[in-house]
């Protein structure tokens, strides 16, 4: 580094900072967002904001500033600080009047800022992140430097793309300078880990080191972006946001089939599906009807699994409605966190404490989600059923029959066979005689028992489809219209098994209560469990030959077990829900009814968008949404650089951190939307091709002192690998890793007694063959007992959406990579390769170091390794029984291989290995 430049840049920085340190009221106007809002947040809003409105005064919304409080005085009189009650109170010496009432008084500077702000007209400004994203001008390197006379060609030579212009501008301002490009080996390891989650192969490193063309690095990047591993890597990030798990959560935490959603995410990333499309599919895939039969495509419906990753509570005595609501709330919070980078959860109980979002807006937003048909059922309906083989052929036959006799019914019947909707879930029956809840979510009825079914629209129906389970013999079930002794709708015998029954009902118009009663004299103590009931048009073609068989096929299709996964399905008509404000967030205390809408804080939803979840999803990814592109671009940036441009990925509001490079963030967001058309690969390519990304990560004392967390990007990222990467790298470098993709989650070896949740008979059955060595993304995820080494390396439990994994550095992590059999198996495998490749121990250790770091080992490090090896070798030679103890996987059992395995165990624990440099 050129010392003279470094120093002179430092001098320049002093000049600049002394400018910014001058009081704001000295020559220019105060800025509401940067000068005033932080003072209000710090001193005022906890009592005069979204939570409390003490003395009827609040500073949350602009209109509130000038409204008289309880005292009749006006807090802010625009243009006249002396007449403003706010100023009088903060300057008062009367303990009864002085503000803030509790807490530190404002200092002189703060008071002056507020005064000047009011005198200047008390301008109100929207927080930066809520303003439409406009394309900023790219800083010109010439203009940055001109002011200080420091222009030289060094910057011009260093920059690779526009990103670097923004970064240089800030660095210059901070008196820092960039670092040179990392070595080829370091760079390819970094970019491979970042784009695919896996280290490069040795051949890939060698090719890159030898490639002298100008496009060498771009070639590597383009190859990585095409790798199937790319989708797996980015899915790992998305899984935390989607709170993906293979279990239902809560106490019993039983399994659920969710992996098709995980595979959908992998495929979407690999296809580079535009992110706006990816968003719409996940939030509203069920409302995209674009297959021939008027039914959503399987892919779109699987995508809605995103919001079926909410938890389901199967504990006895729990209220299904309470946990249905909890899932809705989680959907609202998660959607806000993932796409809008805003912590919305607090608005559930009151207006946002610091950002201008009123309480009702939460429930208006929830109204978009509230019609989803899931109701915290034990069996998690609605689910998408996958038919295979003969089952699939049977479905096709039924569809053909319908097409022939009444094509108008095709949509309804296809829908019912694929998702069993719409149907009335029996847990909503009003309890009558001799009845009880069974399996929490279902309705049990015995001899002489009955139930009331809440009003159903019967116009246009003509048959009832009913799912029940019983051992009772010769029980007879009857449905009555309007009252228990009303007209009989239908009556039929109940078979003693788990079945779907179809029976014709008397044609009736309008909406009616229906009563159900059971006669079961032969088995009066046996329960008949009713799971659901649905009123439908009868299948068409009555009277045709084979009609009875088609009806039986339809019932059989609905009865036979099919692999299925939870999906979102919108309820319409009788199944649409009203949404109310929950007073202070309590779901049992309902306030005013609300209609779906988006908060006024952001651009309004265009009037031509559908007024449902699909419209909402489109709005989220519309050009005018101020948050989405910023938030998403920031997420990808954080994954590469170790920290976001806005560090608080989850909070872009006024309580979040200020962006370090707002112009860069906005520029990237605009490129992402307008140039890249939301294609993530293009966005990532832009980022990793920047000189900023390619910098060496080594720091200097000066850089650490000026910028300990590398906020200004004067060096490359240096961060510990993620939980998934730590495992995948060890398996990849030791050549154990399976590259098999997709399918049900697997169970690699884990210690006994990890799974101990009560009431679940499920157990961890260690996978065999290559499934032991799959990428971490395929490991079975149980929420109450996640795979231990994942959580040790900071993976969340996935009960809720989590934007950031805060990297910790703990002794428990050391114990994993030192002693977990997974890492010992990798060490042994690595040792065999080292042994094969090198003749002498020194050569072998040299090879091992290179296989993990892709760099030659320095002589001092080699000396340390060699000493450990020699020491271990003599121990193993002295006690040969220990050799077979440590070598547990391969066939060779020599003291040399044992000593190399111990050395490989050292190598796998090196900082350089568990860190992305």
């Amino acid at each position: 580094m050129n010392k003279r430049i470094g120093i002179s840049v430092g001098v320049a920085a002093v000049v600049i900072t002394s400018f910014t340190w001058s009081p704001p009221w000295f020559g220019h106007q105060v800025d509401y967002n940067t000068d005033v809002k932080p003072i209000l947040n710090k001193h005022c809003l906890s009592c005069h904001g979204g939570v409390k409105k003490a003395g009827n005064v609040s500073f949350l919304f602009e209109h509130e500033l000038v409204q008289p409080g309880k005292s009749g005085k006006i807090p802010v009189v625009r243009g006249d600080a002396d007449a403003s009650e706010l100023i009088r109170r903060i300057q008062s010496h009367d303990p009864e009047e002085k503000m803030p009432k509790k807490g530190t008084p404002l200092n002189e500077e703060e008071v002056d800022i507020l005064k000047q702000w009011i005198n200047e007209g008390a301008n109100w400004e929207t927080h930066w992140a809520y303003k439409r994203i406009e394309e900023p001008t790219i800083p010109s390197l010439r203009s940055i430097r001109n002011g200080f006379g420091l222009l030289n060609t060094r910057d011009l030579n260093w920059v690779k793309n526009e990103i670097d212009h923004f970064v240089v501008e800030k660095l210059t301002g901070k008196g820092l300078s960039f670092s040179p490009e990392a070595s080829r080996a370091t760079l390819i390891r970094r970019v491979s880990l970042d784009l695919t989650g896996l280290p490069p192969t040795e051949a890939e490193v060698r090719n890159f080191e030898r490639d002298t063309s100008d496009l060498a690095y771009e070639t590597v990047v383009d190859r990585l972006l095409q790798s199937p591993a790319y989708g797996e890597r980015w899915t790992a990030m998305w899984m935390d946001l989607a709170r993906y798990a293979d279990t239902k959560g809560y106490e019993s935490d039983g399994g659920r089939t969710m992996w098709p959603y995980r595979d959908y995410v992998i495929k979407s990333f690999n296809q580079d599906k535009p992110f706006d499309r990816f968003t719409i599919e996940q939030l509203a895939g069920d409302l995209l009807t674009n297959d021939k039969g008027g039914f959503p495509t399987e892919e779109n419906l699987i995508a809605t699994g995103f919001h079926r990753n909410t938890m389901t509570n199967n504990e006895g005595g729990t209220n299904d409605e309470e946990f249905r609501v909890a899932a809705q709330i989680d959907r609202v919070n998660t959607t806000w966190e993932v796409w809008q980078g805003t912590t919305f959860a607090c608005v559930q109980c009151h207006s946002h404490p610091y950002d201008p979002i009123p309480h009702e807006d939460y429930y208006k937003y929830m109204a978009y989600f509230n019609n989803s048909r899931d109701e915290d059922l034990w069996d998690e309906w609605p689910k998408l059923r996958f038919y295979k083989g003969e089952d699939s052929a049977r479905v096709e036959r039924i569809k053909q029959w319908i097409s022939q006799y009444d094509p108008g019914q095709l949509v309804e019947k296809t829908q019912f066979m694929r998702v069993l909707e719409p149907k009335i879930n029996a847990h909503s029956f009003i309890k009558g005689d001799a009845s009880t809840a069974l399996l929490i979510s279902y309705y049990g009825v015995k001899d002489k028992g009955n139930a009331r079914i809440l009003p159903v629209t019967l116009s246009g129906t003509g048959s009832v489809v009913l799912n029940l389970t019983t051992k009772a013999k010769n029980a007879v079930l009857t449905l009555y219209l309007d009252k228990l002794n009303g007209p009989v709708l239908t009556t039929f015998n109940v078979p003693d098994r788990d079945t779907v029954l179809i029976a014709p009902i008397t044609p009736v118009r309008g909406k009616h209560d229906i009563y159900l009663s059971l006669k079961s004299t032969a088995s009066p103590e046996e329960w008949v469990r009713i799971n659901w009931i649905s009123f439908q048009k009868p299948l068409p073609g009555a009277g045709q030959p084979n009609y009875a068989k088609v009806v039986a096929d339809y019932a059989g299709t609905l009865t036979r077990p099919a692999e299925s996964m939870p999906v979102i399905w919108e309820g319409k008509g009788d199944f649409a829900r009203k949404t109310h404000v929950f007073v202070r967030g309590n779901w049992m205390v309902k306030g005013a009814e609300v209609r779906p809408d988006v908060p006024k804080l952001l651009a309004p939803i265009p009037s031509n968008y559908p007024k449902n979840r699909l419209g909402l999803a489109k709005w989220i990814v519309s050009r005018d949404n101020a948050l989405t592109a910023r938030v998403i671009v920031n997420r990808f940036w954080e994954q590469l650089f170790g920290r976001g441009i806005v560090e608080t990925l989850e909070d872009f509001g006024s309580q979040g951190n200020e962006p370090s490079h707002q112009a860069l963030l906005d520029w990237l967001a605009v490129q992402f939307m307008e140039q890249d058309h939301w294609q993530v690969k293009k966005l990532l390519r832009r980022m990793v091709l920047s000189a900023t990304y390619r910098q060496r990560s080594e720091t200097t004392r000066e850089k650490t002192e000026k910028d300990p967390y590398n906020r200004w990007l004067s060096r490359g990222p240096r961060v510990r690998l993620s939980a998934e990467q730590v495992r995948d790298q060890a398996l990849a470098c030791s050549e154990l890793l399976s590259r098999k993709q997709y399918g049900p989650s697997v169970m690699p070896p884990q210690p006994d007694k990890i799974w101990q949740s009560p009431y679940s008979g499920e157990s961890w059955i260690t996978s065999t063959g290559e499934d032991r060595y799959r990428r971490a993304i395929y490991t079975y995820w149980k929420r109450t007992a996640p795979y231990p080494s994942m959580t040790t390396f900071d993976a969340p439990s996935r009960e809720f959406c989590q934007s950031r994994r805060i990297a910790t550095n703990t002794p428990l992590q050391a114990l994993v990579t030192l002693n977990d059999p997974v890492y010992l198996e990798a060490a042994e495998k690595l040792a065999s390769t080292m042994q094969r490749r090198g003749k002498t121990p020194a050569q072998q250790l040299w090879e091992g170091y290179r296989m993990l770091t892709f760099q030659p080992i320095g002589s001092r490090k080699l000396k340390v390794l060699l000493a450990t090896y020699t020491d271990a070798l003599s121990t193993f030679k002295a006690s040969p029984s220990e050799v077979t103890n440590i070598l547990r996987y391969g066939s060779e059992k020599s003291p040399e291989l044992a000593a190399l395995t111990v050395s490989a165990n050292v190598l796998l624990n090196l900082d350089k290995v568990v860190t992305k440099e």
């Binding site: 500077e109 809560y250 005595g317 967390y709 240096r718 210690p751 390794l865 090196l910 350089k912």
Partner: protein, 491 residues
Amino acid sequence: MNKLLNELLHADVQRHTRRHFLQSAGFGLGMLGLGSLLDACGPSGEKTTATRSDAPLHVPHFAPKAKRVIYIHMAGAPSQLELFDYKPELEKYHGKDCPAAFLEGKQFAFIQGVPKMLGPQGKFGQYGQSGAWLSDYLPYLQTMADEITFLKAMHTDQFNHAPAQLLLHTGSARLGRPSLGAWAVYGLGSDNQNLPGFIVLASGGRQPDAGKSVYGSGFLPSVYQGVQCRTGGDPVLYVTDPHGMNRNMRKKTIEAINEINRQTYEDAQDPEILTRISQYEMAFRMQMSVPDVMDVSKEPPFILDMYGVKPGDGSFAMNCLLARKLIEKDVRFVQLFDWGWDGHGTSAADNVEGGLRQKCRLSDKPIAALLQDLKMRGLLEETLVVWGAEFGRTPMQENRNGLVMPYMGRDHHLEAFTMWMAGGGTRQGYTHGQTDELGYYGVNDRVHVHDLQATILHLMGFDHEKFTYPFQGRNFRLTDTAGKVVKEILA
């Protein structure tokens, strides 16, 4: 940007960056280098270095009376009506229909229709100078009555195990909040550099219903989560060296790792490397100290007898003894869970007669021994012992699905239950709160679980309203938005 904003920003960054905290606490540790590793190679790993990897972030608001806590949780919830809350009136109502007033608008986990009342199954007497009521289910605890403060009118909001356990331990029935132990270590740090500050021991064959979240760190940094020491297999996951690698070899490998990492630091200058070096040292020390402290075989026979422990049996009694050993080593917070107290009357094990007697037989003696042992060693004064469950049990007999149960059982009850505390600045031989004559509602001095949490934090030196952590734009505290210190029970 002006100076004020710089300050604000700095404070903000500090608040939002756990990493910063971890670094500032860990920075410079590695400077001590390998010397401390060698120091720790003594037989019991007792030598502590000057390093404080879990240095507290908070200075207590006032001097703590309870420097350490042992929290004994009987998961499933034993019946207070058989053990502590003596209700002779309930005996008179035994077998009669439950009054309608107790049922209207109430929700129970299993009771349906009109259940019968169930009289107390234990024989009660008054014990100690204080005359505390205890039943013959607890003959050993009777002898320690004068050490204890009983809270007879506890109440909670949740009637299912998992949410009620979460509410009790994290202040919220939903997942995601830090547990009491995590708050304690976050606030007071750890005084032992060879052991985690928050250790969890579970017995009864199963984990608590709400899983790890009841001792999790929620949104606090993960270093504060409870580390479960298991009584079968490795006491801490992967603490045992692989077969074929002896201690000396492990020591040499860790020295090699740290030496190479130190060389890496020379080039990279990344302070995280120094933290890693110190954490490998800690890992090595834990490999010694965890199995050592978990091994009770060196305890004298009279101590083993006193607790009723057979070494290696993985029992609750063993965990009581381990709790004492951990406290002796200055572990900040020891959490015991014992599973199997859910006396619904569904089986020979789950009921309030023989089943509950059997659970008491396995736990009464070791609990009394623990109190006595702590007292004997002068540890009780600064060690708070808390005993209780997530809720209580109904004065009515359970009638699941409207049926008569095979054994005497009671349903979950959130309106009234008993907990007790001893040591750590609590009043000795005192009973706080009272329930109505049938033991259904607390009638005076009711204590909500948030009040209990506020009181425990108070004993540890914290004002529960000021002891907060900023997360998602809000300052969170253990007691959520409630909680009142129960002043009457302070010594």
